[in-house]
Symmetry: C2
Subunit: 196 residues, 2 copies
DNA sequence: TATAAAAACGATCATACGTTCGTTTCCTGA
DNA sequence: TCAGGAAACGAACGTATGATCGTTTTTATA
C-alpha cells in the first residue's frame, strides 16, 4: 500500500493541525506522541513528515498562527471605535469572545510556551507583548484624559488580562452562564476597577 | 559503592522534592526525566525509588502538600477577621503574598493538573474547590448585607481568582513593583469591582 | 555490640519515542 | 497520455525513559 485515494496535501495538514490542537490541549505537548497524532488523523507516523518539519514546528505553527490571528482581529475590532471607555468595552468584549471561541489555542499559547525552543518562544512572546500593548494603550489614553485612575498601567493591564483570560480554564459555552452575561460581568468588573 | 556517608531519608526526600519542584516548574512534568532529577540531587536514578513510589506520586505529593498548606493558611489568616469588606481585603492580601512566595507550587498546581491520574486530579480539584469556596463565601455574605453588588457569585469569584493568580506568571519580587504596591493595586481592583 | 532496616549503587529491562528512508501508489499538469 | 511530483506505507534506527533488582554499605535500634 502507499498513497491513499483522495488524499490531498492541504486537507491532511489541516487535519493534522486540528488533531494536534486537540491532543496538545488535552494531554500536553510533551505527553502527546506523534504516533497518537498519526492514528487520530489516520496515517502512519512517518507520513506526518510529508506535512510537518518536526514536532516542534507543529507546535510553533499552531501558536504562531493563533497569535497573528489574534492581533489582526483585535485591530480590526478596535478600528474606528472612539474614546477610551468605548475602546475598553470593545476590547473586553472582543477578548472574551475570542477566548471562548478559541480556548484551546489560547490555552496552548500560554501553557506550552515552555515547550518552545528559546528562539521560537521569543517570537511568540514578542507577539504577545504587542497584544498586551493594545490594552496598555487604551488605559494610557484614558488615564491621560482623566477618565481612568490607574496607578500602574502595566500591572493593571496584566491583572485585567489575567482575569479575562481565566475563562479559558473553566467556561463552558453550554453551561449555566450565557456569553452575554459573562461579558456583562467582566465588563463591569473592568470598568469599575479603572474608572476614576 | 553503596550507601553514602551522612545520608538520611527525610533529608534526601526533601532534596528530591525541592529539585523536582524546580525541574517541573521550569521544564514541565513530562519533560523532566528522573535521570535529570537524580543527577540534580546527586543520586543514581534507581535510588530515587527509596524515597518515592513513582514519578506520578512525586508530582501528586508536591501538589497535594501545597493545596493542604494553602487551605490551612487561608483559614488561619481569615480567623477572627470580621465583616465582608475586611475579610475580602485579608483574602486578597493573603492570596497575593502566598502566590508570590510559592509561585512554583501554585503554577504547577494548575499547569500540571493534566499530568495527574484522573483519581489524583479529582482529589486536587476538590481541594481547589474548597479554596474557591472561601472567596465565594465572603462574596455571598457581603452580597447578603448589601455591601457588595455581585450578579453571579461563582463567575465573579473565578474572575477575581484568575486575576489574583495571574501574578504567578509574571511577577518578579526583585522587579520594579513592590509587593506592597502590588497588593494595593489589586485590592483596589477587587473592591471597586464588587462594592455596591 | 549485634542485627535489621535504610539508603545508596550500578546494571538492566522492556518499552516508547521522534525521525529517517526506500518504496509504492495516486494525482495533476504539460 | 504520460511523466514527475505528491502523499502515503511500513520497517527500521538510535536513543531515552520509567522502573526493577540484587548487592553493598551505613545507620539506628534493641
Amino acid at each position: 500500500m502507499s498513497r491513499t485515494r483522495g488524499s490531498s496535501g492541504p486537507k491532511t495538514l489541516a487535519a493534522i493541525n486540528e488533531a494536534g490542537l486537540d491532543l496538545i490541549y488535552t494531554a500536553g505537548y510533551e505527553a502527546m506522541s506523534l504516533r497518537e497524532l498519526a492514528a487520530k488523523v489516520g496515517l502512519q507516523p512517518g507520513s506526518l513528515y510529508n506535512h510537518i518539519e518536526t514536532k516542534q514546528d507543529l507546535l510553533f505553527d499552531l501558536i504562531h498562527n493563533h497569535m497573528v490571528m489574534l492581533l489582526a482581529r483585535v485591530d480590526a475590532e478596535l478600528e474606528g471605535v472612539e474614546g477610551p471607555v468605548e475602546r475598553l468595552k470593545a476590547f473586553v468584549a472582543f477578548h472574551l469572545d475570542y477566548h471562548i471561541e478559541r480556548k484551546r489555542e489560547v490555552f496552548i499559547g500560554s501553557a506550552e510556551l515552555r515547550s518552545l525552543t528559546p528562539k521560537n518562544r521569543k517570537t511568540i512572546v514578542t507577539l504577545r507583548r504587542a497584544y498586551e500593548d493594545r490594552l496598555c494603550d487604551i488605559l494610557k489614553t484614558g488615564a491621560a484624559k482623566r477618565l481612568f485612575a490607574v496607578s500602574d498601567i502595566r500591572v493593571t493591564a496584566y491583572a485585567l488580562l489575567a482575569m479575562l483570560t481565566g475563562i479559558c480554564t473553566w467556561y463552558d459555552p453550554k453551561g449555566r452562564v450565557s456569553r452575554r452575561k459573562l461579558i456583562d460581568i467582566h465588563t463591569r468588573l473592568v470598568l469599575d476597577g479603572v474608572t476614576a
